[in-house]
Structure formats: C-alpha cells, structure tokens
C-alpha cells in the first residue's frame, strides 16, 4: 500500500520498521518532522524516544544504546551533526553500529534552513578525528530514503561501521507516495556477540576506542581499514540514466540527482545526448563506474548544492580521461532544471 509521506516521516517510519529500539535527538530544522514522528510512534512500538539536552548528549546516548546491543539512531541537520562528530569518531573507533541521519541545510555556521549539500566532506572524509569512514547513503526520493534507512541498519550491523543517511532539506520536507518496506523480522537481526549484556556466565566484554600502545592502536586501525576495503569491494551503489549513448555525463546525488534527471530529459528533447550517474553510496564512492563512463564520454559535469565537494571525487575518478566542468549553487539556493540545462549546453559539443 502506498502512503503519502514527507521524507522526514518516511525515514522515521523506516527506522522503526528496521527495528530501531532507541532514538535520541535534539530539535533542529529542517528535520523537525522526523523527531515528531519518532516521539509519536516509537514508544508505541515499545521503543525508547528521548529528547537529549544537546546533539553531543544524543550521540553519546546512541553510543551507550549501541554498546548495549540494540539498533539505535539519531538525526539532526548540519550544525547539530558538527556537534556529533566527536561521538561519531568514538562509534567508529569502538566499532559500534548506529544510524545517523543528516538532513543538510545551508552553512557554514548557523547558515540557514534551506536545502544544501555542503556537508559532503564532513560525511565522506571523516569529519571527526582519526582515520575512519562512515557508510554514507544519499537518497533522492522519499521511497529511496525509506529503503536506504533499512539498508543502513543492516550494513551498519554487518560491518560494525556507523552509517549515515545524507539527505537535505528538500527531501526531508517533500511529500511523495511511498511503499513502506516490510518491518524486519527481529529474529533475523544479526546477533551481537560483543554487546554489553552483563558478564554473567561469560568473560567480561569491553567496548572502547583506545589503546595507549601504538602497536595495539595500529592493529585496531588495521582492522578498521580491512573492513573499509571490504565495504569498498561490496557496497558501492549508484544509478545510471541514459548513459549508453551519452555525449555528456552529469554526476549528481540526492536532491540534485533528482533535478539532474529532469535535465537529462530536457536535454534529450533538444537533441543533446545527456546521461546521468547518480551516486547512491557517497562512501564508498562509485569511482570505477564513473571512470568507466569517462573512457567514452568526453564531458563529465558535476552538479552540486555546494562549491564542489563531490567534484573532487569525480575528478579523482575521471583522472583526466574527460573534461570535468562543475556547476554548483550555494547558501541554500536550488538551481532550476533550466539553469542546469544551459550549463549542459555550454559544455556539450
């Protein structure tokens, strides 16, 4: 059954269906509906909803709940995500699964509450301290948001790496019909043989992210790096639209990915053979698929709601095989398909 929902609400409902038992938050626009939805629905499903005193506290509550072995989530928007970075680094270091939702808004600083994609570096390159990665998934429709939330919980449990849903204010606020995923069968959720459940009848367990001995910490880091290589090998996700005969390739994600789809259609109507590659996993990034397309498509145009953060990864993928122009908007301004189309025309032969 399809229901009409906002992106924020669909993310919340999907989390509940994924078996999220503890949700900790601090209010911030434009993800308010997510918080409200959880407040109304999670306790009814036997879960814990708690409004924390800050994003710092919320992410550390997630740390505690995850250590106890339950599925747990927090959500926020850009300034609040900055505050969570210390806790996210600890989650990564302690190999605790968790889902973190960032409904991005304009920045830096207090910025504004309009949709933006300025947190790409923060999400995909670390953000907090230390050598760590998050699994970063970027939905472009409400339907996809719901599905990626379910996936984020699974991947995070499987790899013991925190996962981030990187959405933006547009997707969070947008209403669309969505076919909600079936609730997970709790029995199928991965066992957590490391969870802190009390040491009765077994050896004590410890969850920590430190080792004063450099060799020991190196080993911890190598374990993380091995996991990251495994994720890179298995979890790259992307969508291609009309790439087979394309003479210009757009690369865009999330809300921009969605607008870029319209641009491809408009361009084709005018006889320009445009195509789109939309990264769904921003980390691991689809370097190989972009590289393969750049072998035969002479122009790879990156379109973003930032000054060109993902563009750096696109250029790393293309490595000089094609021209790599960039078009971005800043401060929460969202370009129209027409504006992007004129950019496409500029670069298409």
């Amino acid at each position: 059954m399809r229901v009409l929902m906002r992106g924020n609400e669909a993310i919340a409902e999907a989390a509940i269906r994924a078996g999220c038992k503890c949700y900790f938050c601090y209010p911030i626009t434009p993800q308010g509906e997510l918080v409200e939805y959880m407040a109304r629905h999670l306790p009814q499903q036997g879960g814990v909803f708690l409004q924390a005193e800050s994003e710092v506290a919320a992410i550390n509550m997630v740390y505690g709940a995850s250590a106890a072995g339950v599925r747990t989530m927090t959500s926020s928007s850009s300034p609040g995500i900055s505050l969570k970075m210390e806790g996210i680094s600890y989650l990564a270091g302690s190999r605790l699964p968790a889902v973190i939702v960032n409904v991005m808004r304009g920045g830096p600083g207090l910025g504004n509450i309009a949709p933006a994609q300025g947190d790409y570096f923060q999400a995909t390159k670390g953000g907090g301290h230390g050598d760590y990665r998050l699994i970063v998934l970027a939905p472009s429709t409400v339907q996809e948001a719901a599905e990626l939330v379910m996936l984020a919980f699974d991947l995070s449990d499987h790899y013991r790496v925190p996962a981030m849903i990187l959405a933006d204010g547009m997707l969070g606020q947008m209403m669309e019909p969505v076919e909600l995923p079936e609730p997970v069968d709790e029995g199928t959720i991965l066992e957590k043989p490391w969870a802190l459940t009390g040491a009765e009848g077994r050896e004590p367990r410890v969850v920590l992210s430190f080792d004063l001995d450099p060799q020991g910490l190196k080993e911890m880091n190598l374990t993380l790096q091995r996991t990251y290589r495994e994720i890179e090998a298995h979890e790259v996700r992307w969508e291609e639209v009309d790439t087979a005969d394309a003479e210009i390739l757009l690369v865009a994600y999330g809300t921009m990915g969605r607008i870029a789809k319209t641009v491809v259609r408009l361009a084709r109507a005018e006889g320009i053979r445009a195509g789109l590659l939309r990264p769904i996993s921003l980390w691991p990034f689809p370097y190989e698929p972009i590289r393969a397309l750049a072998e035969r498509i002479p122009v790879v145009l990156t379109v973003e709601l930032s000054a060109g953060q993902m563009w750096e990864d696109v250029r790393l993928a293309v490595e000089g095989r094609a021209a790599t122009p960039f078009y971005g908007e800043l401060g929460g301004v969202v370009p129209t398909p027409k504006e992007i189309l004129s950019e496409v025309k500029k670069h298409a032969r």
Partner: protein, 256 residues
C-alpha cells in the same frame, strides 16, 4: 599476584580482593584515593550480587583503565559524556545495573551538561564522582573544583577567583533539582570515612536496584602526585583544605 598467594598453615584469610575485581594491578600513583574508591565500588557490587548484570563506564582521566580492574562488562566514554552513555545503556536495557565513574574535570567541567541533565531526568543510574580538585591525568591543571589560591600548572600563582571563578559545588547544584534520588559527599582519608563512603556507594547502587533513580556519591579525594606531597600529606590536604569548601554529608536523600 596477592590474590593467589599461599596462606601458610594455621593462618586464615580475612582480607581478599572483592570477587568483582580482576587481578590487574592498579595504574594509579601511590597514595591516590582512586584506588580505595574503586575497591569500595567492587565491594558494593559483590554485596548486592550484581556483578553479572553490571556495566561500568570508564571516564577520560586517571580512571580511564577502570575496565581492567573489574570482572564486569565495561564501556569507555568520551571525556565528560559518561552520563549520556549511561543513559543510552540503561534505557536500552533497564535490566542492566549501570554506573559511571568520573573525575571532576570529566563530570564538572566538560561533562557538566550531561551530568546535570541525567540527574534532572532522574536517570536510574549510579554515579561515582571523584573530586580531587585537579586534572590528574593531563598533568595537574586547574579543575573546576580547584580551591582558591591553589597552585596548579595552569594557575601557577594560585587560583585567582576573580579570573577563574570559585570551586564548583556540583553536588550542591544537583541537590537543588527534583530529579535525583540521592546526592552525598564522602571522603576516604581515614578508616571511619572509608566505611561511611562504602555505605554511601552501596546505597547508591541499592537505589538503582530499587528503581529510585539518579544517585551520585561524590568523594573528596587527594591526588598526591600533583599536589606534590606524600600520601599522608595528601590525606591532610583533604581534611585541612578541601573539606573547607566541600563539607561532607548527604545533600539530598529521597526515600521514594
């Protein structure tokens, strides 16, 4: 290890490690009060028979290795965030007995917000707060609890209250709130006070078992290393200096 030492014929063992303590040697300096306090926690866990369902939270500070000293599940929290981590653990699994163990920098400076709000929510957790008036681990910097005039590496001329404020009386602050069940201040500088502190810590755990809510035992302690005094003079520092600002006793006891 002492625990394994053979008892000669005709002798009876009257003093041993608590069951919930491991054989790992302490990492504290000689004369440090952390060691005594850590043992009292283990005695309380033993007495209540809760080792198998207890999860401890190690802070950032000299007690960062706390998890080594117990035969309990443990998590190590970011600096100051132990009360938030405890909240997450306890809410996720209310059957667990959750305690945090924190220094004054951890609990009363960087973690003030997490502490106050966990207390105010009446989280059903037990907090052991070691107030040694200094940042021990990082080398003796001023803590929020440092006494007026006290020399530290960041107050080389002594703490000037006009520039850096007064010793923060966090227990008095928390006692004003409706949330907490039990706020008490204890010390461990002599046998009588060790016994009193022991009873208080036991009570703070018992409260959690009975679902009474947030219970915190502050222990006014000495860090002889950073005071640059002997262990004995560390005890004197507590009685002659610290207790003038941090008087002992119960600050809040709610019986329901």
């Amino acid at each position: 290890m002492l625990a394994d030492a053979k008892i000669p014929e005709g002798y009876v063992r009257v003093f041993r490690r608590p069951d919930s303590m491991s054989d790992a040697p302490y990492t504290y300096c000689p004369g440090c009060h952390h060691g005594v306090i850590g043992r009292l926690v283990a005695e309380a866990i033993d007495e209540l028979g809760i080792r198998g369902r207890t999860v401890g939270i190690a802070p950032v500070g000299c007690a960062v290795f706390l998890y080594r000293f117990y035969r309990c599940d443990f998590v190590q929290a970011a600096h100051g965030r132990a009360c938030a981590v405890a909240t997450g653990l306890k809410r996720a699994n209310p059957d667990l007995i959750v305690f945090s163990y924190q220094g004054d920098g951890d609990l009363a400076a960087i973690g003030t917000a997490e502490t106050v709000h966990a207390a105010n929510r009446g989280e059903n957790i037990t907090v052991i707060f070691v107030n040694n008036q200094i940042y021990g681990m990082t080398g003796g910097e001023m803590a929020p609890t440092t006494l007026p005039g006290q020399r530290t590496v960041t107050t080389p001329e002594g703490r000037d209250v006009r520039a850096t404020g007064y010793p923060l009386k966090i227990s008095e602050m928390l006692a004003q709130l409706d949330g907490p069940a039990y706020i008490t201040r204890q010390a461990v500088y002599d046998v009588r006070h060790v016994q009193m502190a022991r009873r208080a810590i036991l009570q703070a755990f018992r409260n959690q078992l009975e679902g009474k809510g947030f219970s915190m035992v502050e222990v006014v302690a000495a860090c002889p290393t950073n005071l640059k005094v002997s262990p004995v003079d560390g005890n004197k520092w507590v009685t002659e200096q610290a207790l003038r600002y941090f008087p002992l006793g119960d600050l809040k006891v709610r019986d329901r």
